[in-house]
Symmetry: D2
Subunit: 180 residues, 4 copies
């Protein structure tokens, strides 16, 4: 009771105890974004892959990812996380359709869906987003690499990815018609 009545006002911020409470009882809404560069015809030329610490403690090539807050539009969450991970000058070009190219279901048990998040059951709306500006990895990311579609699906790169991120990358490549 006390938690509800005495502490936070209505709002999106959650303290550690509260986030633990909701993570044990509700699927948490996320967005995933795969940043890409395209040529004049819209053909993808480069895929942006962050390198960062993952929820399970591993270091992995990974997509831009994050939680949707209370009261926040999906587009707002996308822009916020893209700017947080790629910097304020990344110039992400959000598409006019609100529909994600796929839905990713992360579970604490990695065998359920192939997508793993030891902290929570998260359901993520995944988008490919063209970026036009200068990108620099934020403090949360160790590195940002731009790979050609071909390089991105090399065994070496895919093997560096954990928690289902390699599968998500393949889904994005297929969505763009460039899977090999």
């Amino acid at each position: 009771m006390s938690m509800i009545n005495e502490t936070e006002n209505r709002g999106s911020w959650l303290n550690d105890e509260q986030i633990e409470f909701v993570r044990d009882r509700l699927p948490i809404l996320y967005i995933d974004a795969i940043p890409v560069r395209v040529d004049e015809l819209g053909n993808v030329t480069q895929i942006g892959l962050l390198l960062r610490g993952m929820p399970d403690g591993s270091i992995s090539r990974a997509m831009v990812s994050g939680r949707v807050l209370y009261g926040e539009r999906i587009r707002g969450a996308l822009l916020r996380h893209l700017e947080k991970d790629l910097g304020a000058t990344a110039l992400p070009q959000l598409a006019p359709s609100p529909t994600p190219f796929t839905i990713v279901e992360y579970f604490p048990d990695p065998s359920v869906s192939g997508f793993h998040d030891p902290r929570q059951h998260a359901v993520s709306l995944a988008f490919v987003v063209v970026v036009k500006g200068d990108c620099r990895p934020s403090q949360n990311a160790l590195d940002l690499a731009w790979l050609s579609p071909q390089e991105s699906q090399s065994k070496k790169v895919l093997d560096e990815m954990t928690g289902g991120q390699a599968k998500l990358l393949k889904l994005a490549l297929a969505h763009m018609g460039v899977i090999e």
Copy 2:
């Protein structure tokens, strides 16, 4: 504290106090399903519209709708809500793609997105689902009407819908290529 430490086990069930707590702090994940009947070529012949009490107290033609539970797959939530609202013999034919045709963002403030839920910020994955069996409205619904695509977009029917359900119906009709 007490709420977290003393009471529930990890799980999807939430008491009234807990549901109020999470509704004030997180977007809640929902599914919406528009049941349809199709002919041999896949052309939609009928749209199923429930009649029921809405969160805002109005009575409206409405889609099948409901929350995704902790640990539940999206497909499981879809099947569960379709069977709950249309009965156990509805035989819904879930599509092999996991991607919804649109995302619906419901807000307590009806002006934000045109989709309104006074109780909460809900984000819903919306699917068109072919049903093959016998449907009967559950105890939650007052009626189930099967309308032709043309009838469903008559001014009379659309005016009977509240909370953005008319807009969701139009999005579904457009997805099927039968908007007029």
Copy 3:
């Protein structure tokens, strides 16, 4: 025989007799493009509608539209027709996914699908395309108007459209989530 053996080399150009021949025997592949302007979040702010003579002799608000040539990629046809109808400085931003948001089937008989082209059976891949540059209608178009999503679906505008273009506009608006 003579037509085949004596005249053209392999190629995309067709004389009047040849175009009449193929139009009577094959569905002709087209693209349709709905140019839009978006804000920083990807929300559509304006829809570009041409005013031009239609195949049936009427004058109508219409989309960018045209044939895909032998040997031409879909993306190439899209860019070519966008630049032809909107000018070389329109800067269309083709999306990284090759999938159209809908397929439009035009028939000489307007009752078949609601999409009408008296000259031919045409099958068109329809795309929404963000444009970033200056647009000016080409010699084929009488005018180019930029309307808000709301204005574009007013009865006045929709009534000015022939051959199914109003339906195609609604499909595009629904794809972007802004149908009313």
Copy 4:
């Protein structure tokens, strides 16, 4: 001239000379269909792969594929080719949306798009289609194999496919969220 004026009536049938003429001058509209079986939740359990002679003379695992005729709806072409290749009792369940999951561009030059048809430039609308009935390969196919999603993407199976069919299979698997 004679070809045009003296011979065929308007219609979809083309003699050898005429088909050669159009194949040299126009992209030809096709459909591709990937037959699948699903469980009660819509999860794909099996992928149907034909074994047959390909346009380039090879024998390959392949999708259902064929031309769209003059005057024919896309849905009609899909049903016709599914029944032709899988038999009259296959009971294909065409989806209510007319939108293909991807567009496949076949070229005589295999380096253009990775999809190869030595006879022609063909543009194919590709659909995943659930089949519910008994399937038997037609006289055109040597065999029909039902493979699990996992089996279908084994190196052995993918290596048996020519002309880009392995890539098309991967695009379909990704569309269903089951690529590995």
